[in-house]
Symmetry: C2
Subunit: 418 residues, 2 copies
């Protein structure tokens, strides 16, 4: 790709972002509906390009798990289209004016929601991110630059082809969506320098990728390293709820970042709770347990937990257990080991529940509910573009609103400052 | 300062930030009232330390303007206390829960406002920033690390002494406020690496400082390079309003970042507007004019404007003038030269006013009002901690709310994900 220049691509994206920002919701929805249809209509071509990625992946010796994430079937294509049509159904936040107030001198001051401008997505494997991220950015009035992994390059370009076809048919600047054709690592380095044209970088992938992007970017980055989610079983817990939520949060999808990794149990209730937990975790998924000295006896085959266990994101049917002598000890443990993702208290006591909500400042804090609800869709945002575990700009699952910001708007009638 | 270690200071600030986050509004207001009183009571001591800075500044050959900003008088001390008491009167945003909605499965989902954690302020000259920034951070439940300029070090430490006295008397962790005693540049470099403990950096000062901080920080930075504010006189402008706003926005305080630097005039109205503008600008402050070929004839002594003039932040009684042939040309000019600070349209036409508001995405966009209102206090935020001209996290003048973020809170009754 001798002609390829990332700075030029970013400049074109910036120009296109002005066009994207001015599209109204009907125009954006028309684009998205046609993109969903184009992806379905080009199903064969996309699958053919995808098979090249699969073949190359096999040759490179990618793991079966990686290949599974990479492969696109007819059903995969249909899911992609459905995901885009779900974005059509979401409310467009752009242009909303909030908090319009009258100042003493008669000027009206409000805040209007506007797109961020140009978003760069850097991601691995799954080619469906190409379609869904583009759709979310279009719906929120942004331009987007997509840099998928080299292992999915043929699939990504085939999907991008559908997107560009539709943009061109609608006479809309096709640079609203750009897919970087260069799969070298150095292109990421260059991309991360374009702070004059790109407004936000969202990396999605392993901790290594996110750390690399954060450390090398001149552009603001949404960070999401890992999810070490805690479940605290208070002395006033309803044990049925506690067991159901423990089993659901740990075993339903252990590879998800919103799965529990550690359960803390108040010592006053541990002798009643732990035998039930041992049985339930074993029955549900033969969960491997790393337990503290005060709890290890309750779990057949448990290992004694180390400091590393309380830092671990197992992403597997595996959990760390610790008995805590008080509510405050539980809070301290969570504050020490939190990844700022999701923490849950099980308690029937309203004071302690409120205290937990106030004292834990992770991005999602729950009372008597499964951590598996910590997800844009479940929390009511619709599709999510990522999860932020750093507090700037967005915190927690990010939907359309997180792809926008607010400017001040002032309506006067000739007022000047005295 | 052989013992001084920035990483240790930042860790202590992070621990203290947990204390700050849990203080309720009454506790925080009691602290702030006592701080205001302590500063007044220690007026003599602060002024004595300030005189050391003034003496050192004179010796170093600081400009009179710099010395003026540095000097603290009895009145300056009173103003500082008043500013802190005004912050007491502001509404505390921490703990507010917004948008609490019921999901189909019965879980309640809302967003709770929480402090960011640890804020680092890097600033120059004015010692009153030490007191005001600390007060804003305390009120919003954050810990703060202050790094003022070396020229104000004695004043800053004397003010910090009052703050620490009050924190200690109230039995509150004094590390909520830290003043860096080391005035070397290398300490800023180290400070900007503490991304595990510091959540946000706010630089306040010249473009050089802000650029240095942005380029060297691992921590998110609020950027505010300059204010090249545009005034667009539409063909449907009310000329009285246009002239009043031009004169106010340009001449009232030209050293402010919200002063006008360029006025764009629709060609249909230029022959009526320009002679009035020439007279008004000259009468008000003998404003120096850099005008385009189509307008230069209207201004006695005007120079022909160059490309640089349209990029300039004069910060003086000086302005660039350009006649534009259409509304769209005005929009293009602004989009090309904007610093994303403040832009104003003067028009009686509602469609064109609305279009301006929609098409210009600067942080503050106004219709028929002076750019001088682009200020936290004038816009109703109370005191401002800074202005952001980048879209992430905050955009425009930043008050207490910009020092907070929102976490998700979920109230369930045993729900699990199906």
């Amino acid at each position: 790709m001798t002609d390829f220049n990332i700075a030029t691509m970013a400049q074109k994206a910036k120009q296109a972002s002005r066009v994207a920002a001015q599209l109204n919701s009907s125009e954006k929805n028309a684009l998205l509906n046609d993109i969903a249809t184009a992806i379905e209509n080009n199903s064969d071509a996309i699958i053919k390009e995808n098979s090249k990625d699969i073949a190359a992946g096999r040759e490179k010796g990618l793991s079966q798990a990686m290949l599974d994430r990479l492969v696109l079937t007819d059903k995969g294509i249909k899911d992609m289209s459905s995901a885009i049509r779900e974005i059509v159904a979401l409310t467009d936040p752009v242009g909303d004016i909030d908090k319009l107030s009258l100042r003493p001198n008669g000027i009206q001051v409000g805040k209007m929601r506007i797109p961020l401008g140009v978003i760069a997505m850097i991601y691995e494997a799954r080619p469906n991110v190409t379609a869904e991220a583009a759709a979310l950015c279009i719906k929120s009035g942004n331009a987007v630059i997509l840099r998928g992994g080299s292992e999915a390059i043929h699939s990504n370009l085939a999907i991008a082809h559908c997107l560009h076809q539709v943009l061109t048919t609608h006479n809309v600047d096709e640079h609203i969506v750009s897919v970087i054709p260069d799969t070298s690592r150095s292109v990421i380095e260059q991309l991360l320098q374009q702070s004059d044209t790109i407004d936000l970088v969202i990396p999605r992938g392993g901790e290594g990728l996110i750390r690399y992007v954060s450390e090398n970017s001149r552009i603001p980055v949404i960070q999401h390293y890992k999810g070490v989610c805690h479940l605290y079983i208070d002395k006033y817990a309803d044990l049925d709820k506690a067991i159901n939520i423990l089993v659901n949060g740990k075993t339903q999808k252990p590879s998800a970042c919103n799965a529990f990794e550690t359960v803390l149990v108040h010592s006053d209730i541990s002798e009643r709770f732990l035998p039930l937990a041992a049985k339930a975790l074993n029955d549900a998924a033969q969960v491997k347990v790393h337990a503290c000295q005060n709890s290890v006896g309750f779990f057949p085959n448990a290992e004694l937990a180390t400091e590393e266990d309380y830092q671990a994101e197992y992403l597997a049917q595996e959990i760390a257990v610790k008995v805590v002598s008080s509510f405050d000890t539980a809070i301290s443990h969570i504050n020490q080991f939190t990844s700022d993702h999701t923490e849950v208290i099980i308690s029937q006591d309203i004071s302690r529940s409120q205290k937990f909500i106030r004292q834990i400042n992770s991005s999602v804090v729950m009372v008597n509910a499964s951590s598996r609800f910590s997800d844009g869709n479940q929390l009511g945002l619709g599709s999510e573009i990522g999860i932020s575990t750093s507090k700037l700009h967005a915190y927690g699952p990010m939907g359309l609103e997180a792809l926008t910001t607010e400017k001040f708007v002032v309506f006067g009638d000739g007022q000047v400052r005295l």
